[in-house]
Symmetry: D2
Subunit: 350 residues, 4 copies
């Protein structure tokens, strides 16, 4: 069976394992206070606009759910809420971690995984104009994913509009970049890390789904926020004792652009799969120019592809139709894609 | 100006003040361990079916928001969520208190302030059938208001259907009865307190909005729940030092049926207002057979009625139309209603 | 049986009941936005130094536990802790409410119910000098009670020293004044409300134990704190729907100095009891110049006094000795004290 | 510089890296649902008494702080507290994570890092006998570390006595085994994993400090607890996407007893260091038969050893004396210990 179900079903890009092996005999300071974390942060910051580099604060955590609730817990006061697409990861796949830590999520209807600046403005304006503001939570942060949970992308114009609304109403803009590499690496993306950094208060760069064993790099751009962010990391269980393991991985990914090599290659493979499905008339469930492809299969198609491939089941759409996901990653080989494409082509004949 | 904006704009029914005055020179044990709380609980339990009386546990808290988050905090485990109509009080008017205490609210679209057993069954079944239950919260409680936030009522059949779903999926049924008296006192209601008690795991009887100075009586019907509920009350700030003030009020309300006298009279006045609006063609915003009447006014109508009456503004419906609320309570006089009805009738001529 | 067990075993001072009765037919805006709350705040602020009046923000809550955790939740960030005497109310009698809301209490050994500026300085300095600050909570608030849980008082010099430490280390000073009236009303007190206000970031004025039916008036002196304090009150269940009931009570207590009349009279009676015990050689368990008197009785003495009086049991001190509390309040009569004193005098003969 | 400051300053035992490298090309199911986690659990369970194996439930988390608050959050109800030595890791080195998640820690004075069954019995009995149980938290769990934070050990008799108290009062017994291997591997230990499992409700086996890159294996022995523990792990950010990385490491450590080989070797080296200090009259700060050695140095001794070795600073003991820690681990070489011992011996000549 070949796994296309997600982008975290293999270990790490070989360069990362190599880095772990080659440093295994060295001793380091713990808890992220080591030279590798420092060097990794320096490499990441190089991708930012020069004017933005000084204020960027980089921290390394282990996983995405942890990163999301740690950032939100550290930034928001108890009566403040976070605005999110209803399909946002924090709203549907984190076992209520944000609420568990004390904050309401204001879920907005999403289209193709995205919300608009106008939607956010409405909720912010409704709060500002409310005659009973103390009876409702104050929307104080916008949470977006890039690329989104369905593989889609915000454009630079969309993100600038979102920033403008955040500025007008005093909201923080937080981008969950668990798949940042797949967003920025897409041929349809019109942004760079520098844009993301310039336009957000805080964002993170996913390692787990982009070639690392694990790890997420949080970049805090608004220096007024979270002066005690390391305390928040520790309190929420995200401070790895052997913190250099995180620094080492991100250093490997960022010092020579390996991060984007990995994600671009994976996207190329995903596009081949997308095009193959389109060619035989299998409809897309979401429009994605990134490494996740969601398509609508009937049960016979599911059965046939399920004989050789593991895909992720998403939703029963009724009338015998089902949404499923095919994902690529650093470990996906051309041979695997060749095989899948060939089998997709055969679907036409069924 | 005459206040029709809510049902808590006056002190207390005179009988309650009289009870406070007449006992002011006596000394009592604190924290709800006094004879008045005991006597009040006994009076309340008399309204239940005989078979249900022994297992009922009655506690007195000060206010509604407090009662809601205390009950939810006491009953649910961290990964469990509460299913509520999107328009439910806990979801829109309690400053995120339920999330603050750690629980996600699964908000379902409501119609006329209500959700259906079928809606609840879908979310419960989706969880049971989920392939990744640990990534999502477990729906474990259904929260309903009776009467609802827009004055509407569940029927006995609807509540029995809800109970059946709760039984099938292991959910608790919790009824917020901040306006229980207005629900049960409505001529259109086909239930009694005994039905509510029989069909729920926990519910409460509102005092604040039904003639008391303040106070809500929680009735826990499922004895397996919250063995340490008094600890939960104290921890959440709801244990009044002079707890007999609560017992005394509920004893006054329940010993001779004053509670329903109050609410029936108020509903009668509200129906007069409803009929007056209908007679001049002012549309209802929600269908309510209880003490809250929501109507749709244009701006000229708002201006005219706003000269003599305070109503509660609800929502801008666009095109110059606005939803507003007119409420009655124990303190609403016939003269006040006569005046309002006369002024409503004049709207026809405008 | 005559109750001396606490200072909240009767209803309210008659002037307060009179105020409730005389306004019962009037309608008010809810949630503390009424003229009585405004007037009560104005009366309270008059007790402050002129220079401090503008920055004082007054809010009314229902009870003490609620007030404590609401203030702490509103002021502290997640990784910040509150320093308290080990005997502080938040540490021993609130069912872990502060921890429940997410904050560690750093409990310091107390002497006669009090901690010193030097103790606080040590913990603050230890944190500042820590090589691993992110592994420990940051002491950010000092919590004191005045009068304390054993009836003792801080002096002006002690409070000024505490303020100086707080200033040096950036800590907030929060005084729980559930018994503020008994502290300030004591003949041994060298402070006024104005001093308390000048030296704290936030404090509150207890109503429940000082003659009201219920209610605590929070005075926020540091305007940078809690810009959304009303949201915190609502979220934590402390916003009374009929908020004017609180304003009305505090207005009654403060407009003509009734608050201190009540507490001074009660203290006078408590001193008579203290002196009577001392005269017959019954040792004090704590030194108190206020309305609470803690004495050490043997079992025979407990039995004898227990025949006519209800006192509060505190602790088994071993060897047949027990600490108990005798309390006075607005409702304690001279006749009750005469009787108790006479019975204490008889103990000498046993 | 040679690091003796802690037991987590190197990567992983070579066998673990080898396991990661050799499986890097294979694809696995995520979130701990892979064959390696299953196999690792099976290997761990083999160490238990046969009668205990069926009820043991094994889960893998990333780090210790995370594991502690996840277990406590999953097992305790809001009003329940955890009893811990004052020196316990949860009380002093986890940034208030347990309180952040809502629970009070009842810290008891520790001697040589340990508390006694009698101390626990007193607090449990005080609660049971309390006349106001709802005003205080209910002690419901005992938290111990094995080996402790100062390297000391509970004996089998001590743990059995603790279990007996827990049984009598209905408390859970939870052992933090971040250094379980160093406890069980000590020549002075009279217990096995089977004893730990038999006597506790839940415990965990530390990987991070015992040769793994990271990871802690929680073993739930009381099947009534935490039926939804995977939900708790996910909600608290401890569910690693590439969960097989944890299974793989624990499988490597447990399949042939490598875990204890590692810890026994490290303890042997630590004992050499302990004996060297003792031989030159350097006093121990705590009595430890495990891999952590705490000694009291004067400033000249600190300076001399600080030229070649990194140790961990613990506390200023006054009068020029300081407590410091020397630690060994899988990575400590004989040559490093030879060098340190030689330099310690030279201290005698100073």
């Amino acid at each position: 069976m070949i796994r296309f179900n997600n982008d975290y079903n293999h270990g790490a890009h070989p360069a990362i394992l190599e880095a772990l092996v080659s440093t295994n005999d060295e001793a380091f300071e713990g808890y992220g206070l080591d030279p590798w974390c420092e060097a990794a942060a320096a490499e990441i910051v190089k991708y930012l606009d020069e004017a933005d580099r000084d204020r960027a604060q980089v921290h390394f955590l282990v996983g995405g759910t942890q990163t999301n609730f740690t950032v939100i817990s550290a930034l928001l006061r108890p009566w403040e809420s976070v605005v999110s697409p209803a399909s946002g990861h924090i709203n549907v796949h984190e076992t209520g971690a944000v609420e568990h830590i004390g904050h309401k999520i204001e879920a907005l209807p999403a289209e193709n995984g995205k919300i608009t600046a106008a939607q956010v403005e409405k909720i912010a304006r409704d709060f500002r104009d409310s005659t009973i503001p103390e009876h409702i939570t104050e929307p104080k942060m916008v949470y977006l994913s890039f690329s989104t949970e369905v593989g889609s992308l915000y454009t630079l114009a969309e993100l600038e509009a979102m920033r403008a609304v955040c500025d007008e109403y005093g909201l923080y803009l937080f981008i969950d970049g668990a798949r940042l590499g797949y967003g920025l690496g897409s041929p349809e993306c019109d942004m760079t890390i520098a844009d993301i950094a310039r336009l957000t208060d805080v964002f993170y760069i996913g390692g787990t789904k982009c070639g690392a064993l694990f790890g997420e790099a949080v970049v805090i751009m608004n220096p007024a926020l979270a002066p005690s962010f390391r305390s928040a990391i520790k309190q929420n269980g995200g401070m790895l004792a052997k913190g250099w393991l995180l620094g080492l991985q991100f250093h490997t990914l960022f010092k020579d652009g390996l991060y984007f090599e990995i994600t671009r290659a994976a996207i190329g493979k995903a596009i081949r799969i997308r095009d193959a499905f389109a060619a035989v008339g299998v409809p897309a469930y979401a429009e994605s120019p990134t490494n996740q492809q969601f398509v609508i299969l009937n049960e016979e198609q599911m059965r046939i592809l399920g004989e050789k491939y593991i895909y992720e089941y998403e939703a029963d759409l009724g009338e015998g139709c089902h949404a499923v996901r095919f994902c690529t990653s650093w470990s996906t080989t051309d041979a695997e894609v060749d095989a899948l494409v060939a089998d997709i082509e055969k679907l036409a004949a069924e």
